[in-house]
Symmetry: C2
Subunit: 450 residues, 2 copies
């Protein structure tokens, strides 16, 4: 109660004096490759970052830098979905810095050719991104004559992973990190492979057993009905597809995405992070399913529930089932998942989705087919650690907060227990993906004031 | 006394059962570039490492791995000059692992073409080397069914820097590090730029003021006499040069190298690390200088003293002054000093050498002329830290011993004070370069027994 009061007060202070100053965009000349000196390595690219000094204290000494370690998307998207940093910036007199991740947004080293092939995309790695942050922050502080200002990094999801890894690899640059919904243990065999989709299933099951059962049943029905052309035509109409789909799997994937992402962003407030959604969207999806008469078509039920994810506002006339770009610029993640970010996942018989296994060989073949690159399966834990993380970091490292919402399926791969007196886990039972980041500032405060 | 007794006992035990088993050489298939996925990156090269399991305990659990993080030279050279690890291996039941540094010895990714240009040499960086170690150690432990065995890294000089940086960057791979004579603070403006050559000068001055003065005087004399052809001819004879030199600076450099390196390896025992030298070689050099009659030629004095470094055994008929490869395979260091390892050094008026300054611009131009590459002047402290290291590591990191000998000029850029209860500095007032590493095992023990 008191913390939301404080947020409300600070948010109000920001808006009382007219609006808080907007962010200003800047471009840093960043080296392409920090870890070699091959001729290409020193090629420079424009690395975008945003600054907001509304709350930055300059006297008697420069206040801290709160740095958002950008992840897989346009950096603006993250500024509009990260409230916590804004909420506490006034109290700490902090300069807000949002740094875009290389190869996303405007920070593409080869412009429109950046995703052409492994020759260009090859430079998209987490290690290069962390070094980008280190170089940029160091240079920025020098240019702002704030060399002694403390730096705290914040991040959510992949960005949360980057924030925690950044504190561990660059303790001389950042003195602390808030890593929100950071599944740094979702590698190798540290976390049971089925736990992600078991968690999604549990989110739905806990709302309604019927809801869970309907979704569990729909996959076989889709495969059966979609096994011939007239079936596909019929299903495409049911799904209001913009074009008749060629494969039933396109419809399954559409449903799969909706249910999975909704479980990730099952916030207690309306939000517009991945998509425009009402409060408690999983509950709302299950209400939709439960509101159908008992004999109603399971495909109709599942489609209607899933369309809450894609079309809550009701302005979509039809749905793009096959092809189409990711609206948040996420296409680089496919590459990242095929190089470093190999997070093995299986689907158990008990889950809501069609059971499946994970094969390193298949993964490797698939990646080679898509990108002409093969993953380095164990690189992440070799480079950053993860195995026995409690033992390793018990007497090493400090000042990292790992926050997770337990309804977020990514939490299963996160750090959920305190490691030491200064590497701590904040767990909210009913929390969601990137919850610590995603208190949406003024909106959230308005709700708590109501 | 008790520790040397223990060393003696362990060394004797090793030799009592017949000789300790020799090292076995192995080759690991190492990726060329750990930090990108460009087509070249996954190219494999043969990475050499040596194993000695004479003392390795297997039951009830695998004993620790003592890993030497190889530096700029053939790995065998370091095995013959690193006694401490051998001395304590029996007590800990340790497996000895000596890993060669990429681009040195047999670990050349492009074979004989490795040093051709920045296209190949570009992959010679400390960050790649540390990742090499992490990947190799992780794989080795798996192959030896010793996944839970603790790992401690050891290194001297640049290898000591690597050992300490390895513990900081890969705490999940190594649980501790002994960093011997590791000048990790000889970057940017952390350490006064004149301190290295002031320390060399102090070593000589503390032996004999006359000795110091003679050396201080020789440089101008060489320049003056070497300013014409007949002078150069005369000097070349005095210096027993294999060929008449073209520049007096070749002779100055020859002297400079002798005095500087001798200060680094001024051990209390005979040694054959850089060169074959007697005990207390600085004292011996000064004795030589002091033993000349007062009016004797200063060039003669300086030459004779310096030739102790190159020709203590007396079997050199002449000296190669211009050209010639470094006998320890050190040529890669020129490249490293022109890319990452920029350690600014000046020579003060008070020192023993001709005064000189340091200019970042000149450094950059010189490197571009030599290698077509420009240094990243502040990269090392951005990547590894160094500024305010006591503050940064006070509550971060653990289990690092920084050892330095104060007669070693490199000690001035080392960590000389404890940082925390588990990041400690061992300083020996009369110690030399890599002293903790360089107790030469049996030889040292023999001397202490005598």
């Amino acid at each position: 109660a008191s913390s939301s009061g404080r947020y409300a007060a600070s948010a109000a202070a920001a808006t009382d004096n007219g609006t808080a100053k907007p962010f200003t965009a800047h471009y840093f000349q960043q080296e392409l490759d920090h870890f070699t000196f091959t001729p290409n390595a020193s090629r420079l690219f424009s690395h975008k970052y945003l600054l907001n000094d509304t709350f930055w204290r300059r006297k008697p000494a420069a206040g801290p830098l709160f740095v958002y370690t950008g992840n897989e998307g346009d950096i603006e998207w993250f500024t509009t979905n990260t409230g916590f940093m804004f909420d506490i910036a006034p109290e700490f007199g902090a300069l807000l810095v949002f740094i875009e991740h290389r190869f996303y947004g405007e920070s593409k080293p080869f412009g429109n050719d950046s995703y052409k092939s492994a020759d260009t995309l090859g430079y998209l790695t987490s290690t290069q991104a962390l070094a980008d942050f280190a170089v940029l922050i160091t240079s920025l502080k020098q240019n702002l004559s704030a060399v002694d200002a403390p730096v705290v990094v914040f991040g959510g999801s992949y960005g949360g992973m980057l924030a925690s890894w950044f504190r561990l690899k660059y303790p001389h640059v950042a003195m602390g990190a808030l890593a929100s919904s950071a599944p740094i243990l979702q590698f190798d065999d540290i976390t049971p492979w089925s736990s992600f989709y078991d968690a999604v299933s549990q989110d739905f099951k806990s709302e309604s057993l019927n809801c869970f059962s309907v979704i569990k049943a729909v996959w076989d029905v889709l495969d059966y009905r979609g096994s011939n052309d007239s079936g596909l035509l019929e299903l495409s109409k049911t799904f209001r597809a913009c074009k008749t789909v060629r494969f039933p799997s396109s419809l399954s994937n559409w449903l799969w995405t909706a249910f999975t992402y909704t479980a990730m962003v099952d916030y207690p407030t309306p939000a517009n992070f991945m998509m425009n959604l009402p409060a408690y969207p999983v509950k709302e999806m299950c209400k939709i399913i439960d509101s159908f008469p008992v004999g109603a078509d399971v495909v109709e039920k599942a489609f209607t529930a899933a369309s809450l994810y894609y079309n809550y506002t009701g302005d979509q006339k039809c749905f793009e089932m096959e092809g189409g770009d990711d609206p948040h610029g996420l296409s680089g993640w496919g590459w990242q998942a095929c190089t470093e970010m190999v997070m093995p996942m299986t689907v158990s018989n008990e889950s809501m989705f069609p059971p499946s296994g994970f094969s390193y060989e298949e993964k490797s073949e698939g990646c080679f087919a898509s990108y002409e690159v093969r993953p380095r399966m164990n690189w992440i834990t070799t480079e950053y650690g993860g195995h026995k993380i409690d033992k390793v970091l018990k007497r090493f490292g400090s000042n990292i907060i790992f926050s997770n919402g337990m309804r977020d399926p990514w939490s299963r791969g996160g750090v959920l227990k305190n490691i030491s007196s200064s590497i701590i886990a904040l767990v909210t039972e009913k929390g969601k993906h990137e919850v610590a980041e995603n208190m949406q500032g003024p909106k959230y405060s308005e709700l708590t004031n109501a």
